[in-house]
Amino acid sequence: MSKIFAIAVNTFKEAVRNRVLYVLLFFAVLILLGAWVASSLAIFGQEKIVRDLGVGAINIISVLIAVFVGVGLVYNDLDKKTIYTIVSKPISRWHFLVGKFLGLLLTIFVNILLMTFFFLLVLYFREYTKDTVLDQLAMDGVQGFSLLVYYLKSAALALAKAFATVLTLGLYNTPVTQGIMEASFLTMLEMTIITAFAVLFSSFSSPTLSAFLTVIIFLIGRANHDLYNFAHLLQHRAGGVENLAGGQFLTYWFSIAACHVAPNLEFFNQREAIAALQRPEVGLYPILYGLAYAAGVLTIATVVFNRRNFK
């Protein structure tokens, strides 16, 4: 176990040195600030826009980190032959793969927490500076230096509250940030599956192909319900599978196969509930599903990896 831990920590060190990670985090900050700006342009539903965009940004940036940082990790060790001195030590190949997976997952989790923290900061600060509050301050004659002090105080309070929410893993939260930590937790579960796929593809193909395949899995996973419904619509229209014509028959079976092979990532999508200021239900099922699916994918990756000759 300590050997897997050593590989995981080393992978984390490697990943946090990747410039792509910082570019993605920069974009995350831009999108989260953009959500705030966009909401101020809306006439109504401002809350919904900020929350929807924010949770969506955290989700998408996490996927991009899993894909663009993840696919290179195993491949680089194979390509640069670093793996020679690692698997020749008293460890099994699966130790290496699981260590890489956990290191990447740790990187993604830390980044999700960072993005969530920033998002909470935006939400809390926004609450202190929303129009009604500012109007009231203006009526009370607060302006100039006093207004600046108010902004600074709000920023400090928002910072403290954001820290408290993240550190207590959502136990401390206010109606403003309700459900955000749960959404981030679900994103982490979703990323557990996506990361397992990134490691699987990276263990036998080039980074470009791995990235492509991982994104495809993510897209099919997200469209799982729609694909399933689409297949049944085809079947319903034709009056049964046996009546489907050549092209439609193929489309039907491709859709059915794709939504059964790819994970159902809709389990982890609670954006609508959060946008509607509801607290999403995080049941046991998504947790078990996420862990079991990732374990299954990693097992396949191990089988593939165990049979490889390292060039």
Binding site: K81, T82, Y84, V87, S88, P90, I91, N309
Partner: protein
């Protein structure tokens, strides 16, 4: 005592991908995709020896080592190390391995790098803290311990690689071209480390094409060519004890003597009063030394030359190549 490495009938055939690249260009291969890298290799390495795996490029040296270290899987045959099948973690814990042209995580400092590998060996924190400074000192990297590996020269990287191979105080050390890319000082340091390991009772197996170094330190060698073993044994068995030629170096010889030297020697090099001559017949060389001793000049050196490993290697490989050419010629004629 059972050999520490025992290889029986080991073969490796690589099947190349249908779509691949060659010299940076896309290439589609539909036939001739099989490449035999190793063919029916039998080899024993005894404990406590320095064993040299020698051969030109493409001989199968690295393939053999990769199979032993579990990086490649053999197509046929078996191999054991310390009496256990390949891949046994208990055995891997007693082996130190340095691959050819190693590449490591270059963002780690020398010390972090060794600490990481120490963890992979399952060494405790206390053991690592004791062993790492010792090794850094052994390979002369103490001053570079806190510099990231990306700042290391090729020689320093090779020494860092050697240090990671010795972290676990291994019983068996396997080194793939350990002197590749090193300057003469670096090569000597590696030679000294290998000899020191032998003094400590360890077994060292290394591949090399630097034959002079191999000749200096190996107890036994195996010579591979195109995946086949063409010779194996103690150096004293392989190299003929027969003296091949007698070299005489002289200064200011008399004109008569010089004329005799030019007539009798098969090779003469004249340089500013110094003359270097090689004789096939011992009696001619002795005649020259006698006349020099009697005042016809000054004898600077007299060296009877035995066949070197390099001579043997070239003779064997050339012999094999001639056989192959003859075989191809015969097949073409029929």
């Amino acid at each position: 005592m059972a050999p520490i490495i025992q290889i029986r009938g080991l073969s490796k055939v690589y099947v190349q991908d249908v779509i691949g690249t060659e010299h940076g260009r896309l290439k589609i291969r539909l036939k001739d995709r099989r490449r035999v890298a190793l063919e029916n290799l039998d080899l024993d390495v005894e404990e406590g020896q320095i064993f040299g795996l020698l051969g030109p490029n493409g001989a199968g040296k690295t393939t053999t080592i990769k199979i032993l270290m579990g990086l490649h899987f053999q197509t046929a045959g078996t191999a054991t190390m310390m009496g256990r099948p390949l891949g046994d973690n208990a055995v891997k814990g007693q082996i130190g391995f340095l691959p050819e042209n190693p590449f490591f995580y270059d963002y780690l400092t020398g010390e972090e790098f060794l600490n990481f590998y120490g963890q992979l060996y399952g060494m405790t924190g206390a053991a690592r803290r004791k062993r790492i400074p010792e090794l850094l000192d052994l390979v002369g990297l103490s001053k570079a311990a806190n510099i990231p590996l990306r700042g290391y020269s090729k020689g320093m990287l090779q020494r860092a690689g050697l240090a990671q191979a010795l972290l676990n105080d291994p019983r068996l050390v396997i080194l793939d071209e350990p002197q590749s890319g090193l300057d003469p000082f670096g090569r000597k340091e590696v030679r000294d480390i290998i000899l020191r390991l032998k003094e400590q009772g360890k077994t060292v197996m290394f591949s090399s094409h630097i034959l002079a170094d191999a000749e200096m330190i190996c107890d036994r060698v195996a010579i591979l060519h195109l995946g086949r073993l063409i010779a194996e044994g103690h150096l004293s068995e392989l190299l003929s004890t027969r003296i091949d030629e007698y070299e005489v170096q002289m200064r200011n010889p008399a004109a008569d003597l010089l004329a005799f030297v030019h007539k009798a020697a098969h090779k003469v090099v004249d340089s500013k009063g110094d003359h270097f001559a090689s004789f096939k017949a011992e009696r001619d060389a002795l005649e020259v030394t006698r006349r020099l001793a009697s005042g016809e000049g000054t004898l600077m050196a007299y060296v009877p030359r035995r066949e070197s490993l390099e001579d043997y290697f070239i003779r064997e490989i050339e012999g094999k190549r001639a056989q192959e050419r003859a075989q191809v010629g015969k097949e073409n004629a029929t």
